[in-house]
Every structure is written in C-alpha cells, then in structure tokens.
Amino acid sequence: MTQPILQARGLVKRYGHVVAMDGADFDLYPGEILAVIGDNGAGKSSLIKALSGAVRPDAGEIRFQGQPVQFNSTKEAQRAGIETVYQTLAMSPALSITDNMFMGRELRRPGFAGSVLRMLDWGRMRAFAREKLNELGLMTIQNINQPVETLSGGQRQGIAVARAAAFGSRVIILDEPTAALGVKESQRVLDLIAELKARGLSIVLISHNMPHVFEIADRIHIHRLGKRLCTVRPKNCSMPDVVGLMTGALGPESNPAEVVG
C-alpha cells in the first residue's frame, strides 16, 4: 500500500481531567475521502485540530508525507497545504466576506503600492471571493462586502467551505461542513468534495450524516472514547453495523469488514 499523506500515532490531549484524545491513531491516504465518525464528545474535533496545528497534542507523533512534523500554528499547516473547516467555522463576524476569505493571507497590490505602502488589493480579493462563492452556488449572497454576521448559518458554512477549497493544495479537513446546510446546499458541498478528490486532494470529512458518509467516503474511520476504534470500507459493511461500532453496541472484533491501517 502507498504511504499515508497524513498520519498520526498515539495522540494524547488532556484538558484537566477530561481526556479528549487517548492514544488516537489516524491515517489518510493520498487522493482518498476519509470519513471520521463518532459520538458527540468522542474527540473527533480534537483529533483534526491536532492535525491542523490548532492544538498541540500532549503526546504522540504526526507525519506529513512520511516526515515527522510539528505544526505550531494553523499557519504552518496551511503552508504545508492543509486547509481546515472548523466546526466553529473560524469567521470574524463583524468583518466582510472578502476579509474572512483572505484573513491571514491577504493579497497585496503589485508594485510600489504593495511592496512599500503594503496596500491590499481589494479588487483582486473581491473578484476571487465572488468567483469562489459562485463555484459553490452561493450566489444568493450578492454583496461580497457584507459582514459575515448578517449571513445565515448555512451561508457562513458555505463560505468556510469555499475558503478551504480555494486555498487547500494537499489535504482538506472538514469538521461537519454540512450541519447547517439545506438539502440542496449539502449536495453542492458533497459534489465539491468529489471534485476536490478528482483534483487529487485528500479529504477528511467529519459528519454525523450516515447517508452522506456512505455516499462519498472511500473509508470510514470510527472514533470512540478518544481513539480510533477501527477503519471500515463502506462497500463491505452496512449502516447499522457502523452505527453499532460507533456507539459500542458492537465490538470491533465482530466486524469482518475491518480494514487494517
């Protein structure tokens, strides 16, 4: 088998007495869509935050393209080509859509205005933001200068997804990206994920929506009590089996379709 693009072994993260990760393992292979599922509080968000540089694990190792890495900030992970849609969306409510799209990686004007006056290139940033929202069919939003807080929850989620898709070059992590979306918009996001995969990116999708997971995932990582319980292929097992594993009704050994690694 090929080498995982993003891999973790034995991640531990404690918050006081709460153990958010308890020796969590993780493997993401190039060009695949990996769904991560688990009960509320299982530690899924904690896991992907460790992978994206948002949280520094207390113990464990992360490898990116085979090399051990330590991301001290999300910026470092972004530089490596890893983009993340956080469950909280990570948007500045008072700032505009364009501001939020480019926060932390603003485009400067060419020439003197950009290099000496450090002036931002609002024209280019607005055009880019508009184009990306168009691609996602978010054109119910007409004004790219609108503050994010005046948008609906679903529109905000759409913008967060558009931002990650626009800037990710290797890995895109989505933590419940369709939780607030309508049926049509959810389908758009699923289509976008398939498209990103076709472009050769690797995708991590956290979702509680089993039909979505079974529709697009290549493999399903089942997270339970702070660690990976097992990984299965949706082709080889049924939705009730997966839910049974996730909730602890079934033990992992009872699952004949388990995929090792």
Partner: protein, 346 residues
C-alpha cells in the same frame, strides 16, 4: 463601494421586502459606525451656532477647539487601536507625561542633544506600550488590570524621576527649541493651525488608511472581533496585540512631545485626565468597547464633539459642570447606539 451595490446587499439579506426606515438606518450605521458622531458633531455645531451667533464661527473659536482637540485626538488615536482589539489602555496619559519628562530631563539634566532625548522619549513610550502588550498577550492578563497597574507605576516613576520639577518654557525656548517643534503655527484665514493640530489630523488619516488597507489593520480588527477565529484563520494574534500596544505607546510619546509645544514647559503634573478623555472620545466616536468595530475617524469626531461642547457652553456662559453632564449623556447614548447596531444579524 457604490450606492447601488449597497442597496442590493441590503435587500439580499432581508428577503420579503418591506424594510422599515429604522432598519435602513441601522444597516447604514452598521456599515459606517462613524456616521453617528459625525451627525452629532454637525448638529451640535449648528445648535451652538444658532444660540451663540457668528462669534461661534470665528477663527478664534476654531483655533481654541483645535488646540484642545490636538492632544486628545492623538492619544485618542492610540486608544482607538487598543479598543478595537477589545482592550483598553488606562496608561496612555502616564506614558505621554513620562515620555515628555524623559525628553526634557535627558536634554537638561544629562545635556543630551534634544533630538537624541526625543528619540529616547519615543522609544520609552513604545517600550512601555510593548510591556503592556506582552502582559496582555503572553500572560493573558486582562488589559484593564495591566494598564491600571502600568498607569500607577509610570505616574509614580514620573514624579520620582522628575523630582517633581518643571522645566521652564524660557529655558526650553533658549536651549532646546526642537522640543517646541509642534507649537509652530500656520495662520490660515485667521485660524491658527499649530503643527501639533496638523500632525493630529495627519496621524488620524494615516491610521485610518493603515486599518483599512493593510493586512496588519485587518488583523487588528479580527483580533478584537474574535481572537479564537483569527488564530484558526492563521493570524498571529499575540504578535498583533503586542504591536498594537507598542504602537499605542509610541503615539502617546508623540503626544507628549506635542504637549511640550502646547504648554511650553515640561511638567510632570499634566495629563492626569488624558486617559479618561481619550476613552470618552473613542466611545462617543462610536468605536465598540467589545472590539472589532468602529473607525478611527469616529474618534476624531468624538474629540471634536467634546471640544465643541466645551467651547459652546463656555461662550454661552454656562457652568462648566454642564459640559461634563452633557458629555456623560453622550457617552451613555453612544454605548446604547453601539448595542443597537450590533444587533444587525439575520
């Protein structure tokens, strides 16, 4: 942004038409929070103009208002930066005074060239600000507490170091005129514009530009709006905070230099109320104490409103207490308006 673009956006997020006038006003203020203070400024100038007559529009009146607003405007600009990050700086006045004392004492006690002393004063201001910033961002202490402590420390240091001595204006004029630089006057149509006033206006315009058109400026807003979100988006939250407090300290030191020009002497006994006055200008100027919103132009308008009230009531022969009373009302109204504006969400 064109006005058609604005109206399209307004309709697009409130489906079903039928937006009331009030909604429109609320939305306009949301996009442009300094409209309120601008309106209050215009109205108060008109009202005082009607009550007082042409005397209120005389060049002398304008001269007085501008002189009074120069210092508050500069320190208010520093305060605005800090408040946009959802912080507050109670030490602005102390930094200003101690920096001016350093500029004066280094020249007269140690005989340093005035230019070098001024450089030392400016560096000291930036350093005090940076210490505030480090304590706020790295130690995660509340800005109110950090700067309350810094205010006391610097005020005490100010009196101890200056030995409570004032450097006389004649001595400065004779030996170190550079310290009086900002007192230089230009008479335009009968109104005296000091270099200090012009500097204040230039500083506000420059900061408005930086906040709007540079990545650093956008990060200042993002950090005040939601530091967690800014961090996840890849903003260096700590670095931004430290730089904001350090820049605020530097601006306060510049205000100290301007103040030497304004009062002529170097005295450790001035600027006791500057922190409150700067916060007043910022709040009346429509900058949210919760961070992330407001424009620095608002602070300028806020400072001018206070100046217009002070002078207008004085020319009307009213008790000075009426000024404080009116400003108190304005502060509370401004915060009320801010709360209302922030409710614009769908």
């Amino acid at each position: 942004m064109t006005s058609t673009e604005k109206s399209v956006s307004a309709d697009s997020f409130r489906h079903g038409g039928g937006r009331s006038m009030l909604d429109r006003v609320q939305h306009a203020l949301h996009t442009n929070p300094s409209l309120v203070p601008l309106l209050v400024l215009v109205v108060s100038v008109l009202v005082f103009g009607i009550l007082i007559g042409p005397r209120f529009f005389s060049p002398l009146a304008l001269t007085l208002i501008l002189q009074q607003v120069a210092i508050v405007g500069i320190v208010g600009a520093a305060q605005s930066l800090v408040i946009i990050t959802a912080g507050i700086d109670l030490s602005v006045g102390a930094i200003m005074v101690l920096s001016s004392v350093i500029m004066g004492q280094f020249t007269f006690r140690y005989g340093l060239p005035p230019g070098l002393s001024i450089l030392c004063g400016l560096s000291a201001g930036a350093l005090f600000g940076a210490i505030n910033g480090l304590l706020v961002s790295i130690m995660r202490l509340p800005p109110f507490i950090v700067t309350l402590g810094m205010w006391q420390i610097l005020m005490a240091a100010n009196f101890l170091y200056s030995r409570n001595e004032t450097i006389r204006a004649q001595d400065i004029a004779a030996e170190a005129p550079l310290l009086h630089l900002f007192a230089a006057k230009q008479n335009i149509a009968g109104t005296d514009f000091t270099l200090g006033t012009i500097f204040m206006l230039a500083l506000v315009l420059f900061l408005a530009f930086v906040l709007r058109h540079t990545a650093w400026g956008r990060h200042v807003y993002a950090v005040g709006d939601d530091p967690g979100a800014a961090e996840l988006s890849g903003v260096n939250v700590r670095g931004t905070l430290i730089s904001v407090y350090a820049v605020a300290g530097l601006i306060c030191a510049l205000a100290g230099w301007v103040m030497i020009g304004r009062i002529g002497s170097v005295s450790p006994n001035v600027g006791q109320l500057t922190n409150i006055e700067s916060i007043t200008a910022v709040v009346i100027g429509g900058i949210s104490l919760f961070g992330g919103r407001g424009s620095i132009m608002g602070t300028l308008f806020g400072g001018l409103i206070v100046g217009v009230f002070t002078l207008g009531l004085r020319l009307l022969g009213a008790d000075a207490q009426w000024t404080y009373l009116m400003i108190g009302v304005l502060i509370i109204v401004a915060v009320g308006v801010d709360q209302w504006i922030r409710k614009v969400t769908s």
